[in-house]
Amino acid sequence: MGLFVLRRLWVMILTAICLTFVVFFLTNLYPNLEKLAKQQGNQRMTDAQVESWLSNRGYLQAVPVKYGQWLGVLPGYQITGKDGVLRGRCFSAPEDAKTARRFCGVLQGDWGYSTVFKEDVSVIVGKRLWLTGKLMLWVMIVMVPSALIIGVLAGMREGSKTDRSLSTVSIITTATPEYVSGVIFIAIFASSAVGLKWFKGTATSAMDDATFANFTLPVVTIALYGMGYIARMTRASMTEVMTAQYIRTARLKGVAFHNIVLRHALRNALIAPFTVIMLQFPWLLNGVVIVETLFNYKGFGWTLVQAAGNNDIELLLGVSVVSVIVVLITQLISDIGYVYLNPRIRIS
């Protein structure tokens, strides 16, 4: 078990390094840097000016070197620019050059500075992540139990009318992406023209004070899309368990049907959905970005859109690192959890 976890951890770290490098490479392509230089300097810079602006700030070093500095495994650059000013990654005023740390990258907690929000990336990411965490908590509270109940009810009597109608419901929810269900929900429940006006169509006020009126629609919109998939997986796993020999034995013994479902089948049927729920995180991240844009809830996904839309390189890198790490950690938990929950693998 310990060896397995170590192996998984190693693969995870390797994956994280590869992925962050890809993100780093794509965000640091020359056209992006040129845009950055023009945003920070002025719009009418000539190509030569752009180039000297970039080389003064260390942007024109080789990509692996830059990546190493950003990660914090290579010492930060110190460049005396063509204008005679000493600039470095780890200090802002030239006087501090002597006292500055040698390494200052993500590993040292130095995430850079956002050009859009004029704030440290780590501060922004922390704040936004907390807001999205609140959203995700409620999504999980709504989504997981309802998906499991639908899946178990549908799977315990395969082919029955309950099964057919619940399966159709879960197919419908998986066929409705968030930007469609969100629009339909706003039209029905929030529109001031003809709608029921039960909820609010924007969740901006939910950032400080989440209420039933302003938080229901975003939560339900995300939960609905993920729910169908988990329910279908639960149903598949439940139908498989229900045809197992030990269930037949229990039935022949005369155990009541609800006891069979609750005591004998449920525990084994929930192993597979656990993995699915964990692997659902990358998809939920998708939903979060769409829903936060749709409902104007300024969380992590909204920040991603802002950073990408405004060429805010350091912020985009920070956001990407966090999302990649979240995804990888959930995958690790799902792998370990699967082994732990499944006695056949755990004991052998």
Binding site: A190, A193, L304, A308
Partner: protein, 470 residues
């Protein structure tokens, strides 16, 4: 100034009460049907099981009858609308009439398919499953719509043209005097005074143009890499699996934001990716023919020459925009969209194919082929792949639906596609900004996308059920 259209037209007062009546019967009996089994669970005092079954059958009959009555009413309403003048048809009647070529094509398709279903293999079996038929009808509805839109038939106006005075007008508003073409905006005007209905139906063309082809390409890539990974195993498998997990761990939306930007297009990265990804279909076909026909050099040479010549001609045109004949070109922003959708989809296909290969390579017929001395690629492509077709066809349908969702996401964030483009994602995005005041610009594309994806999912479900049955 003409009168605006009403929702149901002149026949509305007759049909509406009937519709509502049957709908109520349908809803109540359906609810009854679903709750009846629950009654049999109640211990002592509940109804006995045979009685439940008896009542269940009666209620089930009622559900069926009321559903059929609803359909008959809808068809009757539509047919009567056809013989009325445009003004008297109402909005729904006009909608029905605009889709007339689609209805005819659907009826012909279904008539022929059901007539000859015993001779049509898996496709014919689809018509044994209600779910599958509903799904197929929804999908074909949009496919035919796209075809007829391409022939300039269903649409009432040009999806890009603006008519002054029609900004945000509600459904059924007549055009100002002196304007050409159809006299009304059936589903109203959007914020730029364009016709919502025409944009909605043109959106189907955008999807039908991209989604199936992108899915086919993703399948070619996934199959060409997944088969050897599963068949050979070892280092190759470890490497390819790591690579596919790498792409799968990437949040899709982040990938889109990094890949589908004008800056990236400038660097030419999408072209290089296209250059690599689009080689796979040629590679696939070449290996496919060579492994089968290498003992018949004459036949083999013909197949290979045709594949390589046509393949490279298309390849140069699509991937590098360098078609020597100048016939084929691919707009660069569409290429990015296409490439990124293929890129996102192929790792999942790879994993499915690899899993199936791992399973199938232990079968006896594979061992028999190995004993006969067949080459590894012959075994992979002509023994394993045909036997994996069931799950692959099902996944193909699901994946087209998923690709449609991805295209919608791209449009929703305004990535890649042209800003004026009538694709559903962009139209939803434009419409949502005014959603609290006007519903009509955002809802039609949203419902259209929903129905197409739902159709593909139901179709996949029907196919799965029918292919499991043999």
């Amino acid at each position: 100034m003409m009168e605006p259209l009403s929702w149901l037209g002149v026949t509305g007062p007759v049909f509406l009460p009937l519709m509502v009546g049957f709908l109520a019967i349908f809803a109540v009996s359906l609810a009854g049907l679903l709750t009846l089994p629950a009654l049999s669970w109640t211990p002592a005092g509940g109804i006995s099981a045979p009685l439940v079954a008896q009542r269940g059958a009666a209620v089930g009959r009622l559900v069926q009858l009321s559903f059929l009555a609803l359909i008959a009413l809808a068809v009757g309403y539509g047919v009567i609308a056809l013989i009325l003048p445009v003004q008297a048809r109402g909005i729904l009647g006009n909608l029905f009439a605009r889709f007339l070529p689609v209805w005819i094509a659907l009826i012909v398709t279904f008539g022929l398919s059901i007539r000859y279903k015993r001779r049509l293999g898996l496709y014919g079996k689809l018509f044994d499953s209600t779910i599958g038929m509903i799904g197929f009808a929804l999908v074909m509805f949009w496919v035919f719509t796209a075809i007829f839109v391409a022939m300039n038939m269903v649409i009432t106006h040009d999806p890009l043209s603006q008519v002054s005075g029609m900004k945000n007008k509600v459904p059924g508003t007549p055009l100002p005097k002196g304007s050409e073409g159809f006299g009304y905006y059936i589903l109203g005007g959007d914020i730029l005074a364009r016709d919502v209905f025409s944009r909605m139906v043109s959106g189907s063309l955008e999807v039908v143009k991209i989604a199936p082809f992108a899915t086919v390409f993703a399948f070619m890539v996934g199959i060409t890499l997944g088969l050897p990974a599963g068949y050979y195993g070892g280092r190759l498998d470890t490497f390819l699996s790591f690579l596919s997990n790498l792409i799968l761990a990437f949040p899709v939306i982040l990938l889109f934001y990094l890949l589908v930007t004008p800056e990236i297009v400038l660097t030419g990265i999408p072209r290089y990716m296209a250059g690599v990804l689009f080689l796979f279909p040629i590679l696939f076909l070449v290996i496919l023919f060579y492994s089968r026909f290498f003992t018949q050099p004459a036949k083999c040479a013909i197949y290979l020459t045709v594949t390589v010549v046509v393949g490279f001609w298309l390849y140069l045109g699509i991937a590098w925009n360098a078609d020597p004949l100048g016939l084929i070109s691919f707009p660069p922003n569409l290429l990015v969209v296409f490439v990124s959708v293929v890129f996102v989809n192929s790792p999942t296909v790879f994993r499915i194919v690899r899993g199936l290969t791992l399973d199938i390579k232990t079968r006896d017929y594979v061992a028999a082929a190995q004993t006969r001395g067949e080459g590894p690629w012959y075994i992979m492509l002509w023994e394993i792949l045909p036997n994996a077709r069931g799950p692959l066809i099902v996944d193909f349908c699901l994946r087209i639906g998923y690709t449609t969702i991805l295209l919608g996401t791209l449009g929703f964030f305004g990535l890649g596609l042209e800003p004026e483009s009538p694709d559903w994602g962009s139209t939803i995005n434009e419409g949502r900004k005014l959603l609290s005041i006007y519903l009509h610009p955002a809802l039609p594309p949203a419902l259209a996308l929903l129905s197409l994806v739902l159709g593909l999912n139901l179709l996949a479900d029907g196919l799965r059920e029918e292919s499991l049955r043999d």
